[in-house]
């Protein structure tokens, strides 16, 4: 007689199989398929064509060069911001931090579009102030350095967050001890704080590099017109010119992206090797240094940076969206909402894109909520020895560049599904599955950390009260993790709505997303329509970030990315 065999931890028998099935579909199968194709084509020589093609090494060089200089720019921008905002007595820190985060949350193709509208001969803003370069002069951003610079702007917040988290963890007593030892503020900064914040710098730089390597939106908009290809845009181009060898080629190319990403991370761990910087002592509010009369200078510098990287490009974007046609000077008389009417009420393509993106993002967010509540519960309470492995597997798809993940799903679902014989390739379902896979980590992390905060006795008390598994989940556990779960829904929705890379490879007629629609509008020369759509997307991003900001107090630490 073996009744209630699993009763000691009180979890139903289907929980473990459910978690395993979810992790198989969302992580193991697509990644395994990609690895298998890559290995097979490497051994069978299928990929030799692409590897020996001299046309390949230029994109590899472009990828490395743009990513490296993009990383440098991100470190300078983000590092400077983090140091100034965290260590010194700057006013309006939270507002500055929030504004500095925005470029990262805005989709990269929108960033690229807004910078294009700001610079170059047909810039509406420059025209309005009479400083536009003469017509026919080249757009300065259509270059390696232009791409690298925008990579820096886009990813600066990653360095900012990483460094800031490290700085906030610095023990206050380490600074105070140095002070008592007779060190001046400057010496403390140079000898204590900067060395101790090296891991944050290195980690932020590595994340920024990896993110640049996988970035598709910026090189697609800035590079393709000038025939500057990076690996992600090369995959896109190969895919557009589909032929028999495409699958083998793109699996090799995505392997190259994977290798570059891993190299970036290896360099980071090498930088940190032999340095054990685990801080000992009370970490808490770090001592804030007084800038005195330099404070105003620092504040002006910070606000100028915000104006240059955020306000001006967005103003230019808005201006372009209000201009009657590309290149026409914008005056109060010529401003028109025509572009907005067009994308919202007339163009079927953008309307479909709205429906698709919002539908996909909602389904992804809600679907992932269900998966992450069960998976998070299992990881925290299951006591399973596989918990570490499962959470690592859940993290990988998010860490991988979107192009690589998209290629994995293409390879997995190019053929009809076994048994049922239906192909989901080319339908919206493949995008949905790829989104579920890609954003699982985004949704799982807040929920898991919320579960960790719930004392296990709360659930045990409910068990003794007589509540079974579903009863406990609905009455006790879910209400307790609800704020984090809500935040995870908004975060996933926010990221999925702005996503371009995955859907750029997976869309087909009728399944385009907002990201794809913006890219296609720009590609076909409807710059003002692309700008108008981008403006709407930016408004949506800001609205959702403000919503999260409002919720931040009720959430566990680390759920809202820009709060630490």
């Amino acid at each position: 007689m073996k009744r209630f065999r699993s009763s000691a931890n009180g979890q139903p028998g289907w929980l473990f199989p459910f978690v395993i099935a979810a992790i198989m579909v969302l992580s193991v199968l697509p990644l395994g398929r990609l690895a298998a194709t890559g290995i097979v084509s490497a051994f069978s020589g299928g990929g030799r064509g692409v590897l020996t093609d001299p046309g390949l090494w230029q994109p590899v060089y472009n990828t490395v060069a743009t990513s490296f200089f993009g990383m440098i720019a991100a470190v300078l921008l983000g590092g400077g911001f983090a140091l100034l905002l965290t260590l010194f007595d700057i006013r309006h820190k939270r507002l500055l931090g929030f504004l500095f985060m925005l470029p990262t949350m805005i989709p990269p193709q929108v960033t690229a579009l807004s910078w294009i509208s700001m610079m170059g001969p047909s810039s509406t803003v420059l025209k309005a102030i009479g400083m536009a370069p003469p017509l026919g002069s080249p757009q300065p951003l259509y270059s390696i350095s232009g791409i690298a610079f925008l990579f820096g702007v886009q990813n600066a917040a990653l360095v900012f967050l990483s460094l800031r988290a490290g700085l906030l963890a610095l023990p206050r007593d380490a600074v105070e001890a140095a002070r008592l030892a007779g060190a001046s503020s400057f010496q403390v900064l140079k000898d204590i704080i900067l060395p101790l914040s090296l891991p944050g710098f290195a980690a932020g730089a590595a994340i920024a590099f990896v993110s640049c390597v996988g970035n598709f939106g910026i090189p697609a908009i800035l590079g393709i017109p000038a025939s500057i290809y990076t690996l992600p845009t090369l995959i896109y181009a190969k895919f557009a010119a589909f032929d028999a060898g495409t699958f083998a080629d793109i699996s090799v190319l995505s392997a190259l992206i994977g290798i570059l990403s891993v190299l970036g991370l290896l360099v980071e761990s090498r930088v940190l090797r032999g340095r054990d910087y685990r801080v000992i002592g009370l970490s808490g509010q770090i001592a804030v240094f007084r800038l005195g009369r330099w404070r105003v200078c620092a504040e002006v510098l910070l606000w100028l940076t915000i104006i240059v990287i955020l306000v001006l490009p967005l103003t230019a974007l808005v201006a372009s969206s209000l201009a009657p046609a590309y290149g026409v000077p914008l005056t109060p008389a010529s401003a028109t909402l025509h572009a907005y009417q067009e994308i919202l009420f007339r163009q079927a393509v953008t309307q479909t894109a709205f429906v698709n993106s919002i539908g996909l993002s909602m389904t992804t967010a809600i679907g992932l909520l269900l998966v992450s509540v069960l998976m998070g519960y299992f990881l925290v309470r299951g006591g399973s020895r596989y918990a570490g492995l499962i959470s690592a597997l859940a993290d990988i798809p998010y860490a991988l560049p979107g192009v690589v993940l998209a290629v994995a799903f293409i390879l997995l679902f190019a053929a009809p599904l076994p048994v049922v014989g239906i192909s989901i390739y080319g339908t919206i379902w493949i995008i949905l599955l790829a989104y579920l896979s890609s954003f699982l980590a985004v949704s799982l992390k807040p929920v898991t950390s919320a579960f960790r905060q719930v004392d296990s006795s709360l659930e045990e008390a409910a068990r003794l009260a007589g509540a079974g598994f579903f009863r406990r989940m609905t009455d006790i556990m879910v209400p307790l993790v609800a704020p984090a779960a809500g935040a995870s829904v908004i975060l996933v929705f926010l990221i999925a709505c702005n996503e371009l890379t995955v859907s750029a490879l997976l869309w087909s007629a009728g399944t385009q997303t907002l990201g794809v629609a913006i890219y296609n509008l720009d590609d076909s020369g409807s710059f003002n329509l692309a700008s108008a759509l981008s403006v709407l997307v930016v408004i949506m991003v800001i609205a959702m970030m403000l919503l999260l900001e409002a919720m931040a107090k009720r959430l566990p630490k680390g759920v809202v990315p820009w709060h630490s």
């Binding site: 045990e460 068990r463 003794l464 007589g466």
Partner: protein, 342 residues
């Protein structure tokens, strides 16, 4: 309600080889109040969690009356054991009001709303928290939270109430008040109670039976009076009360309760073989003429008396109380009125 019995119950965790609980057999009579007393890490909480059903014994059985709760094959889930527990952390659900917390076990048992309201009100009045029914746990003090947790136990008439160091997070003043509440609760409900604590005073004051545990084993199970007067073995002797255990020559005839005369003889023949452990309570040690000479090591003024540490001629340490001040380093004559051979 019925008698709760543990039969050679063991538990070892996969992570460590050591058995956390090693063949514990216990019987708590119906309506009894058993205290599991021992230092931290002795396995008392694991025993409690196995009774609740949160851990499965790796060996042995747990029965409630004729019903098997757990043995090698069967394990009744905690939700079906009809037990209630007061957790050290109180485990109140922060998103529910006090009344909802208390009423939750009834809600799960699908008791009608009207009946539920009545029983919640009566449970809250038993712990004198009626005015707080609508509050959130976060708005209550530690002692009030503890009483909510207690009311949540009261409400379902459980067969067994388990208490896991319920007073550990409270200050001394509140502890006394809560001890009174627990005693009252036990009398009123008549439930079988198992109480885990590392505080011997708490165990003595509350329980009808005390089980002293160490390293996963039960060393002695008896009434508080019995444990105090006749402890079994050196460990129990050292754990209960503030007595000193000293090595003296074995008394003749294996007598256990030693009189003043016998103690005097033993103290004078100190050093002779074979030796036995003898427990001496400080209140049985008197500084008076005619005794053995002992040197004062320390003397602490405690208000009503001095707590004195003495060193016997062979260096063994003896605790005593003295109403008169003594000087450190001074040699005083010591009479021992009684002793207990362990």
């Amino acid at each position: 309600m019925a008698q709760l019995s543990l039969d050679r119950m063991s538990k070892s965790f996969a992570a460590t080889d050591r058995a956390a609980v090693d063949g514990v057999s216990l019987t708590v009579r119906e309506g009894g109040f058993l205290a599991l007393l021992g230092p931290s890490g002795c396995g008392k909480t694991t025993v409690l969690r196995m009774i609740a059903g949160f851990e499965q014994p790796t060996g042995g059985a747990i029965r409630l009356g004729s019903r098997v709760l757990a043995d090698g094959d069967v394990s009744v889930a905690p939700e079906h054991r009809n037990m209630a527990m007061v957790f050290q952390s109180y485990a109140l659900w922060p998103h529910m009001s006090v009344a909802d917390n208390v009423g939750y076990p009834l809600k799960v048992r699908k008791i009608a709303t009207e009946e539920r309201r009545r029983r919640v009100a009566s449970a809250l009045s038993a712990v004198r928290l009626e005015p707080y029914a609508g509050r959130r746990p976060a708005d209550l003090s530690g002692g009030q939270r503890q009483r909510v947790a207690l009311a949540r136990c009261l409400v379902t008439d459980p067969d067994v109430v388990l208490l896991d160091e319920p007073l550990a997070n409270l200050d001394r003043h509140l502890r006394q008040e809560m001890e009174e509440t627990f005693r009252e609760f036990h009398q009123r409900s008549g439930a079988t109670m198992v109480y885990v604590t590392h505080d011997q005073a708490e165990a003595m004051a509350l329980a009808t039976d005390v089980a002293v545990m160490s390293e996963g084993k039960v060393l002695q199970l008896a009434t508080p009076q019995e444990i105090y007067a006749r402890p079994e073995g050196r460990q129990v002797g050292m754990l209960i009360g503030q007595g000193s255990v000293i090595k003296l020559p074995s008394p003749a005839g294996d007598t256990r309760a030693l009189t003043e005369d016998m103690m005097g003889t033993l103290l004078r023949t100190m050093g002779e073989e074979p030796v036995a452990d003898v427990l001496v309570r400080p209140q049985d040690v008197e500084i008076a003429d005619g005794g053995v000479a002992a040197r004062v090591i320390s003397a602490l003024f405690e208000g009503e008396r001095y707590a004195v540490k003495l060193s016997l001629p062979d260096g063994q340490m003896l605790r005593a109380f003295s109403r008169l001040p003594v000087r450190i380093g001074e040699t005083v004559p010591v009479l021992v009125r009684a002793g207990w051979r362990l």
